[in-house]
C-alpha cells in the first residue's frame, strides 16, 4: 500500500474540518493558534477510496468504497497512554500441566511490561469465577507475581462470570485516557451462564460501548472459536489461536504490543453518500446503515496500524465525463496524547468514463485486493457454515472455488497476499474431512478474523 499516494488524495475539506473542530476543543490557553495545534500533534490518517476511481458511465453498478484509518507513530519521547487491563484466565482442570504453566508465564510477562501508572486486575475462573487481584496499580510487582505463580487449575468453566468480573474490574477505573481492555485466555467451552456465541457477542458489544475491548485467546483445540471470535469482534478486541502453550508467549507479546501502542480511542466514523447512491452492506465489518448514511465505530486505533471497512455501494447510471461526490466521511476520536476529542473528514469523488479500458487502467489495486480478500473470507465463512450442516462436499467445493478465484485475482493484481490466502483455502479444503477439521476450523476462524478486523497478528 502506498501511503504517500493516499495522503495526496486526501481532500482539502479534511483540514478545514479539523481546524474547525480542534478549535472548539482546545483549552483557552491554546485558543490563539488552532493551526499550531493541528501541526504540533500527530493525527490519525483517514482515507476514503473507491475501487474504481473512474467508473463506467451510463449504467447502474456496484462498487466498493474503502474507508481506512491509520494510527500515527507514537513520538519517541511521548509518554504512552496508561493501560487499564483485566486478565481473565481459564483455570479449569483441562488447563492442567504445561498449558497452565505457560499461561502463568504469559501473565507474568504481561505484568513485567506494565508500568506503575498502569492498572491490572486478574480474574480466574473454573466453575465459579474469582477476582484474584482486584483492579490495582502495578506497583507491587513481586506480590502480584507470587499470586500468579501460586495458581493451580481446577473445576469446569464459568466463562461468562469470568468476563463479567473482568469488565467490572476494568469499569472501576474506566477512563477515556486509559487503554481499557480485558484479555481472556480460555481452553474450553463455556458451560455456566450464557454461552452461545450470539449472547457473548452481545456482551462484547455492551463492553465495546463502554470503551472496553476484549481480546480472546483460544488455547489448544477444545475452546469454542465461534464464541471467542464473536466476543472479540463485537468489542473490537483481538483474537488469537494458540494451538499449543508455547505460542502463548508470542501472542501475549503481540497483544501487549497492541495495547501499549493505542493512539486513539472511541473512534466513530460516519459516511454520508451522495443522493441516489445506496450503501448495501459492510463487506468485512458489520456497519449500521440508515438510508444513504452508514456508520461504524472502532474502540481504538493502534500506532501505525491500518483499520478499514469496505462498503458495497450501488451507484446509479451517470453520464460520461460527469463527476460525482460519491461520499464524505467524518471521523471523531479521542486523541490519546492530547486527551482531547478530535474530528477529521475526507471526501471521495469519482468520475465517469465511457471507456472500459480507462476504468480498468485506473483501478485502485489496494482497494480491489482488500475487497477480493474480504469476499474470499466471507466465502470461507460460508464453507464453515456448510460443513457445520454436514454438507461436506459443498463446503469443499466452496473452498476449492475460493482458492482458484483467489489465485486468478492474485495473478491479475500481482498480490502475494491473495496468493497466500489462495493456498490457505486449498489447505482448508484438504482438511474439511477427517480428524483435522476441529483444528482447521479454529485456524479458519482466526484468519477470517484477521482479515475482517485487519488484525496485525
Amino acid at each position: 500500500m502506498n501511503m504517500s499516494q493516499h495522503r495526496a488524495k486526501r481532500a482539502s475539506i479534511a483540514t478545514s474540518l479539523l481546524a474547525l473542530c480542534v478549535s472548539s476543543f482546545v483549552t483557552p490557553a491554546m485558543a490563539g493558534g488552532p493551526a499550531d495545534v493541528a501541526t504540533k500533534d500527530p493525527e490519525i490518517i483517514v482515507d476514503i477510496e473507491a475501487g474504481e476511481p473512474i467508473m463506467l458511465a451510463g449504467k447502474n453498478q456496484k462498487t466498493y468504497v474503502k474507508i481506512s484509518l491509520t494510527g500515527f507513530d507514537l513520538p519517541k519521547k511521548a509518554k504512552r497512554p496508561a493501560v487499564n487491563l483485566a486478565l481473565v484466565l481459564d483455570r479449569s482442570s483441562s488447563m492442567s500441566g504445561d498449558p497452565f504453566e505457560k499461561a502463568k508465564q504469559a501473565a507474568i510477562m504481561v505484568l513485567d511490561r506494565l508500568g506503575p501508572d498502569d492498572i491490572i486486575s486478574i480474574i480466574t475462573y473454573d466453575s465459579t469465577a474469582e477476582v484474584l487481584v482486584p483492579a490495582t496499580r502495578v506497583t507491587n510487582r513481586d506480590a502480584l507475581r507470587e499470586l500468579i505463580t501460586s495458581l493451580h487449575p481446577r473445576g469446569s468453566t464459568a466463562l461468562f462470570s469470568g468476563v463479567s468480573y473482568g469488565i467490572e474490574e476494568v469499569s472501576k477505573f474506566l477512563e477515556s485516557q486509559r487503554v481499557n481492555r480485558v484479555i481472556l485466555l480460555s481452553d474450553g467451552q463455556a458451560n455456566v451462564g450464557p454461552s452461545s456465541p450470539n449472547e457473548l457477542g452481545r456482551l462484547g458489544e455492551a463492553a465495546g460501548k463502554q470503551g472496553i475491548a476484549i481480546t480472546t485467546i483460544g488455547l489448544g483445540l477444545g475452546y469454542n472459536e465461534d464464541l471467542m471470535t464473536q466476543l472479540a469482534m463485537r468489542s473490537d478486541g483481538n483474537h488469537g489461536f494458540a494451538e499449543n502453550a508455547d505460542q502463548l508467549a508470542t501472542i501475549f507479546n503481540y497483544e501487549l504490543g497492541d495495547v501499549l501502542s493505542v493512539v486513539a480511542q472511541d473512534v466513530t466514523i460516519e459516511i454520508e453518500f451522495d443522493e441516489g447512491v445506496r450503501p448495501v452492506r459492510g463487506l468485512n465489518r458489520d456497519i449500521e446503515i440508515h438510508g444513504r448514511k452508514a456508520m461504524f465505530s472502532l474502540n481504538q486505533l493502534y500506532s501505525k496500524q491500518e483499520k478499514y471497512v469496505l462498503i458495497e455501494v450501488d451507484v446509479p447510471a451517470t453520464l460520461a465525463g460527469k463527476k460525482r461526490d460519491l461520499a464524505r466521511v467524518a471521523v471523531g476520536y479521542d486523541h490519546m496524547l492530547t486527551g482531547k476529542h478530535h474530528k477529521l473528514g475526507d471526501a471521495l469523488q469519482v468520475s465517469f468514463s465511457g471507456s472500459a479500458q480507462d476504468v480498468a487502467r485506473n483501478e485502485n489495486r489496494g482497494v480491489m485486493v482488500a475487497a477480493i480478500e474480504a469476499t474470499a473470507a466471507e466465502r470461507n465463512r460460508q464453507a464453515i457454515a456448510l460443513r457445520d450442516q454436514g454438507k461436506i462436499d459443498q463446503a469443499e467445493k466452496v473452498l476449492r472455488d475460493n482458492a482458484r478465484e483467489l489465485e486468478r485475482q492474485g495473478k491479475k493484481y500481482r498480490s502475494d497476499r491473495l496468493q497466500k490466502y489462495s493456498e490457505a483455502n486449498e489447505v482448508d479444503a484438504e482438511n474439511v474431512r477427517g480428524d483435522n477439521w476441529n483444528r482447521q476450523r479454529k485456524a479458519m476462524r482466526k484468519s477470517q478474523y484477521q482479515i475482517q478486523m485487519n488484525q496485525a497478528y
Partner: protein, 595 residues
Amino acid sequence: MLHPRQIILFLLIVLTPLGLAAWLGLKVARDEQATGQHQFQALLQGRLRDVDSIIARTIHDVERHLVDKVLSREPGHGAAPQDQSGMAAEQIEFLRALRRKEPLVREIFMLDTQGRLLFPPEDASASAEELAFRARTAAIWRGDAVLYGVPAPESAALAQGRGLPDEGAVESPVPGHSRIPEPPIQGVEDAQGANLPGAPPDARPPRGDSILALARTQPHGWITWYWEEGLHLLFWRRMDTGRVMGVEIERVALLSRIVGKLPASGIDEGRVVLTDASGHALHQWGPYEPATGEEPLASTPVSEPLHTWRIQHFVSPAQKQAFFANTLRMNLLVGFLAVALSLMAMALWFYRDYARRMRDAAERVSFVTRVSHELKTPLTNIRLYAELIDNELLDEDDRARRRLSVIIAESQRLTRLINNILTFSKQHRAKLDLHKTAIQVNEVVESVLAQFAPALEAKGIKTSFTAGAGEPVQADSDAIGQIVANLVSNVEKYAASGAFLHITTLDDESQTVVRVADRGPGIAPPHQEKIFRPFYRVSDKLADGVTGTGIGLAIARELARMSGGDLVLVPADQGACFELRLPRRKEQGHEGARS
C-alpha cells in the same frame, strides 16, 4: 446359683430405664433436628435475601441511570421540520446516538400520545437491527399484550422497601409484567398474545392494555416478555409531552453488570446459583460442587422485574453436618451412655451383694446342718443310756426317776429339733426320702402322746385322744410321727394356757384325718396362711418366753404334702385346730418299694 428368673429381673432393671432414656433422647434429638433444619433454612434464606438485595440495588441503579440520564429529556422537541413519522431528523439521530453509547440499551423506542410507535422508523432509513426490534415487540405496540399495573420502581416499590421483601410478598404473584408468553415459533409475531400456551383459545384474555394506559397512572415502569434467547426487558418513561420513551435492555449486559456486583466468594463450603426461568445457571459462586439433580436447600425468586429468575443455595454435606451435629446430639449420646453405665454398675453391685448373701445363707445352713448331724449321735446315746437307767432303777427311787424322766424328755425334744433341722435342710437340697409302708395312724399318735406325756403333764395340759380311724394308710411312719409331734409340740409351747389337747383320728371316704385341737389363744386371721412359711413366727418377741425355730409347721405341711396329703388349719370356735389329711389307696403295693 442364680435362677433364670433373677437374671431376667436384673436385665429388666437395667434395660427398661435404658430403653426409656434412649426413646426420650431420640425424641429430643428429632425435635431438635427439626428446629435446626428450620433455623438453617432461615439462615440460608437470609443469605439469599442479601443476594437478592444486591440484585435489587443494581436494578435500582439501572433505573436511576435510565430515568436520570438516558430518558431524562425528550430529544429536541419541536426543533426541526418533522418527517412523515413525526420525528425530526435531529431527534432520530439523538436517539440513535443514545443507543450507541449506552451499554445497557439494546434498542430505544418512542411512542406518540396515541400510543403509536414513532421510533424506530419502519421505512428505508431503519437499520436491520431496528426492524428486528419492531418485529419482536409487535404484539406490545398492537396492544395484544396484557399489561398489569407496571410497578413504578421508585415511587411505590421503593417506598415499600424494595429489595428487602418479606417472604409473603415474594411468594405472591408479582403484578406489573406483560403476560406475553414465549411464542411457539420465532418470528411469527401474530402468534404472540393470541396463542397463550395452557389457555384454551376461547379463554383468550381481553385485548391488552397499552403502555400508554399504564403511563396514565405511573411515571415509568418495566415490561418483561420472552422471545428467543429468553427474558427481554423494556423500561419506559412518560415524558412531559405525554409521549413515552423507553429502552429495550441488553439482557446479557444487565446480567454481566449484576454478576460484577455479586460476590465472587465469601460463602463457606456451599454454593449459591443464580438461575434463569428454565433453571439454567447464570452465575454461581462458592466451592461446593452439587451433584446433578441435587435439590437446593433454600431457594428464592429474584425480585422484580427479574422475578422469573431464582437464587438457589446448595450446601455441602460437611456443612450440613457441621450445623446439625452440634453439641446437643453429642450431649445426648454421652448422657445416654452415662445412664447405661451407672445402671449396669448398680445392677452389678446388687447382683454381687445378692449372690454374697445367698452364699452366706447357704454356708450358715450347711453349718447348722453339720452341727445338728454331729449332735445327733451323742444325743441318741444320752437318750439310750437314760432309758436304760430308767429301766434299771428301783421302784422306790422316785426322785431319781423323776429327774431321769426330765433328761429323757429334754433329749427327746432335742432330737425332734435336730430332726426338724435335718429334714428342712434335706428338703431344701431335695434329698428327702420317704419310705412308705402301711401304717396305723392311731399307733403313731399314741406313740407321740406317750413321748409328750411328761411335758404335757408338767404344763397341766389335759390330753384326750379319740381314735376313730381304723384303716391303714400308705405313709412313712417317721414322717407322720414328726408331723404330729410338731403339732403337739406347738400346743405345748403356745397353747398351754388353754390346758387342753384333743386329738381325733377318723376315716372318711377317701382319707384318714388326724385332727389336733387346743383351746389356746388361737391364730389371728392375718397369720393363718403365713404360719406355714419357714421361719415365720406370729411373735418374734423373746420376751414372750416362747422358744422355737419357726420351721415346725413348714416342715409338717411339706411332709404331709410329700406323703400325698395335706396339713391345714381349720376354723374352730376356740383355740386352733389343725387337720392332717392322708389319702388312702385302694390298691397298695405299687409304692413302698424300699431301698
